[in-house]
Amino acid sequence: MSSSRNIRAEYDQTPQHHIPLIHSLSDDLAILCLSRVPRKYHHVLRCVSKSWRALLCSEDWLSCRSRQNLTETWIYAMCVSKDRVNCCYVLDPNALSLNWKLLGPIPPQCIRREGMSFEALGRKLFLFGGCSCHEKATDEVYCYDACAGKWEEVARMPTGRCYFLSAALGDKIYVTGGLGLSSVALSCWDIYDCRLNEWSSHQDPSLIPDIVKSFAFEGKVYTVHSTWVDRQYARAYDPSSRSWEDLSRQMTSCCHGPTVVSSGILHMLDETHGTRLMTWEKENEEWVLLGRLAQGLTNPPCQLVAVGSCVYVVGHNLSTVVVDTEINGARPEGVLVGSSLAPKLGSDVSVMSCKAVTI
């Protein structure tokens, strides 16, 4: 036997109690095979056996798909129906025919809440706070793990909040403002660490409670403030240095509609005069028109969500317009080219917020 041959180690002996994912294959190879199964079949994989179900929730699964560039992004829309019942819909952008599907039931506590915040971080979706006619502002937080396909309650916020602001940055969610807070929390950032499932609070005297809009962009929380004399100004908060920066007044125009970041560029849907998609140009600090959407195509008020270079404009009753900003960037200021979808739903729904989750 040639001694210098051991470049490859033997496969590990599986311990007696370990059930292989696929008999006759090592788990490494089984995972390589299973990771190639498209996301639309993952719910089937979860139903096969305990070990398959556990695999789909594991970090191994995500990193294997990620390494091979097999990840797929789905869009989740938090909606409220005409009778004030909350529901969540999901869209697979890669499906042959675009179709919004009703996700299973959301936690019963959240069904009639208003003023909740909806955020996505990694493979999880979060519903924070909220209130209803039966309860005051709550500190409850619910999390949907898109890998496992189930909801669970997670760490509660330091204070109850409703109609407040949130932004997801890195692996944390920043929450501030709103109604129903304890007095201590008035000038406070509450920060949720997704990995540790823990909240921390940070007092910030520069936090002025007149913020009307906030979003995450380039590692900062951008805020638009509105003073009582109806003047607006914009700032950006950098959590790593805990410092504020003043921004050009042009930024405040983003209050006219929803914003989204696509391909690293900030986009805004201005629905005041027709429907125009604007992009923020950093050098000149101004909004530039990317293009107009044909009249009647969208069903305002709309929410925006981005998958790669495609911006999804989701309006009333989940009517959706998909605009590829790369294709349209070549001919700016014209009418935007895109595809659209007008689903037939059981009842009227309004979209509150849309988020994307990549698995």
């Binding site: 696929i22 299973l34 305990k50």
Partner: protein, 224 residues
């Protein structure tokens, strides 16, 4: 022209130190010609100073050159079931494992490489894939289409053979075949129900009744 031949070895576990005259008696194949030597007599001995690595690299270089010259070096591999598999060096070097071994000259003094994890049958199949894929078909649509249809037919095998190809190509590090085999397993799963998947892969349903109910409830929306 067959790239691979098989012979039974007399003693399974023993490595024989090769001497070209003995080689020609035991196995009928074209004599190994040392490309560096000017002596072209049929019975040329492999000079002791020239390592296996040098010969293979030289043969590999000439392989990509004029094929009329046919200075092909064959490699001898010992499979897990004790059979010897002979294959052209250029074909075998599609396996990154074998390539690294040859380049690092890990075969030691002997000419037979041990492949303890792969059967002779699987080796033949794998090298058949490698031989077909020697041509790259860079951008040439006719070649890539031909390779694609070859791949589709090639990978349409029973599950046990598929596993052998999977494990063999993983061990030998033949990336194209590994990807092909993994994708085939994934294709077998797509569109099937959990029951069908369990039947194909012989997996036991190990949910307790409560767990099964929970799993079904969680995933009900996706099945609709």
């Amino acid at each position: 022209m067959a790239a691979v031949t098989e012979t039974e070895s007399v003693e399974k576990k023993k490595n024989r130190l090769m001497n070209s005259s003995e080689e020609e008696v035991a196995v009928e194949k074209p004599p190994v010609i040392n490309p560096m030597s000017e002596d072209d007599s049929a019975g040329a001995a492999i000079p002791v100073g020239n390592s296996l690595s040098d010969q293979v690299m030289a043969a590999a270089i000439s392989e990509t050159g004029e094929t009329e010259e046919s200075e092909k070096k064959n490699l001898r591999l010992m499979s897990s079931d004790g059979k010897e598999v002979v294959v052209e060096a250029a074909v075998a070097m599609k396996s990154q494992l074998i390539r690294q071994m040859i380049e690092a000259d890990c075969a030691g003094g002997s000419d037979v490489i041990n492949i303890p994890n792969v059967t002779a049958a699987a080796l033949s199949l794998i090298f058949r894939y490698c031989e077909k894929h020697l041509v790259d078909g860079d951008g040439d649509k006719a070649i890539t289409d031909d390779l694609k249809s070859f791949d589709e037919d090639f990978i349409s095998v029973d599950l046990d053979t598929l596993y052998d190809l999977l494990m063999g190509s993983n061990y030998l590090d033949v990336k194209g075949l590994l990807d092909l085999a993994c994708q085939k397993v994934a294709d077998l799963i797509k569109g099937k129900s959990p029951d069908e998947i369990r039947r194909i892969f012989n997996i036991e349903k190990d949910f307790s009744p409560e767990e099964e109910e929970e799993v079904n409830k969680e995933n009900k929306w996706a099945f609709e």
